[in-house]
Assembly symmetry: C2
Homo-oligomer: 301 residues x 2
């Protein structure tokens, strides 16, 4: 499973029961939290997200609607006796802000909390199951999008052939990484007889807050799914540009140019009480668009 669950889809000020930005990326072995607006810990409870699976929290930028819920979540993790390590990936000086707040409350954490400070675009994390990189977006303060690439064993065992050839279990890992097998008599069995090429890993890109900016295309090209903000309807393109945000049609254009399979849109301005028009306008440009609705999980296609 590789899916994105929306916890908040509103822009800066909470309104109409919509919450500030937060999403959970669920993968087979772990989850990531992406942005953490105020109230995220309550949304995690509301939507029964398993908090112990969250190994990393990614913060795109230090506007409050993207991180004010982080200190409360960390605090609750401490009070609830969390054991699992937690890594925060964010621009400066979030580490200082969090550490200062923990210090003044004399909070003792019962789990390891570490920070990865984002300094520039590029590779951030290279884990067993997922690789994460970041890219700058065009926003009023320093802001980063994230690309999450699923890492799969490049080859899968053809278990029938493997058993037929009596390959020892201890050699399975080597087979998966592409090695040929040489038996005790020196006979070489080619790897492609014993394994099958695995399908490509899924790719999800979170494009954070941004103006329309084609420079991000190189980073999100051919992703299975992207999230792109649509703070405003198309009629407010001037305001969007002035405020470093995007419109419906602009998000659709980015998805189209990047050749992605699916587009999720969110970060809706509090001036709009309903969302239907966001969907309609964006789909005119890019048909496979979904509104990022709170509490809904979107599978990567």
């Amino acid at each position: 499973m590789f899916a994105v669950t929306i916890l908040g889809n509103n822009s800066a000020v909470p309104a109409f029961d919509r919450h500030p930005t937060s999403q959970v990326l669920t993968m087979p072995a772990r989850s990531f939290l992406i942005d953490c607006g105020e109230g995220t810990q309550i949304q995690l409870i509301n939507y029964k997200v398993r908090r112990s699976r969250i190994s990393h929290i990614f913060i795109s930028h230090l506007h409050g609607d993207h991180y004010f819920g982080l200190i409360g979540l960390i605090n609750s993790f401490a009070l609830l006796g969390r054991q699992q390590d937690l890594t925060i990936v964010a621009p400066e000086p979030l580490q200082q802000i969090i550490e200062m707040q923990l210090r003044v409350a004399d909070t003792k954490l019962c789990f390891n909390l570490s920070f990865v400070t984002i300094k520039e675009s590029g590779l951030l994390l290279n884990l067993d199951d997922v690789e994460v990189s970041c890219f700058r977006t065009d926003h009023r303060i320093k802001c980063y999008g994230f690309v999450f690439k699923e890492v799969r064993n490049p080859r899968r065992l053809n278990i029938e052939k493997v058993k037929e050839q009596h390959i020892p279990v201890t050699f399975y890992n080597s087979l998966q990484s592409g090695k040929d097998y040489t038996d005790e008599n020196g006979n070489v069995i080619k790897n492609d007889v014993l394994t099958i090429a695995a399908p490509k890993g899924k790719v999800y890109a979170f494009c954070a807050d941004t103006r329309y900016d084609e420079r991000i295309l190189t980073h999100i090209k051919d992703a299975d799914m992207i999230y792109h903000e649509t703070t405003y309807h198309d009629s407010l393109a001037d305001i969007a540009t002035a405020r470093f945000h995007s419109t419906t049609r602009q998000a659709g254009k980015i998805a189209q140019l990047a050749g992605v399979k699916k587009l999720l849109i969110g970060h809706f301005s509090s001036k709009y009480d309903t969302l239907q028009e966001f969907e309609t306008e964006t789909r005119e440009v890019f048909a496979n668009t979904d509104l990022a609705l709170e509490g809904v999980s979107y599978l990567l296609p």
Copy 2:
């Protein structure tokens, strides 16, 4: 009107749809916010509290469940174009924490934000309509309770007599402050002929987070209403003491010894899913006790 509206009544971790500590004290000319846990800005919307009336926000101590919602509220005030001055009254270093978060987001406030730093027990504010003082409570970190005393003109005009004696309107303020009136012929009309003693102003005391501590009695004596925490049932008195909190019967005892008219209890531990037992146990010691229920306004008796 002098009333307290509860926005959050739970202890540290949000649970059972109960929120962390926050209350609004509504007075004729303004409102005060007392503590501001995460999600307070949403609770203010839910319960239709007029945010423009809030002139001051009092923070008892820097455990997160009492202030993590403050930065989000200030941020939303800025985004919504608030004009009214706002004063934050809190222990150090809250000012630094807030200012750092505003700075990194490059937030420009469109209203005056000022801070009063609490250094020790005593008088904090002396306003036209209300006087506020604070006192130390026995908690794990530096923590303060607050006493809000309504200031009334000491005497009210007996308007029939005032008109009968043709007292000029310009002298009304002097009458209210107790002065006798001397007419153009030098005749003295005694003040008590022209005015009536006003009833005493109402007094509300917020006792914050605290262990059972009789040292607070001197500060809250004879208040019309106090709020005292009851994190635990009576059976967990040992845990309450170890964690610098109070039980039901302890809160009742404080109310009784202080000779107050009414007791509000809150800061319920997340281990309890229902609240009835808090009320029952406390009322065994102090009959005029009410649970602080979210969304409910309690008039001072």
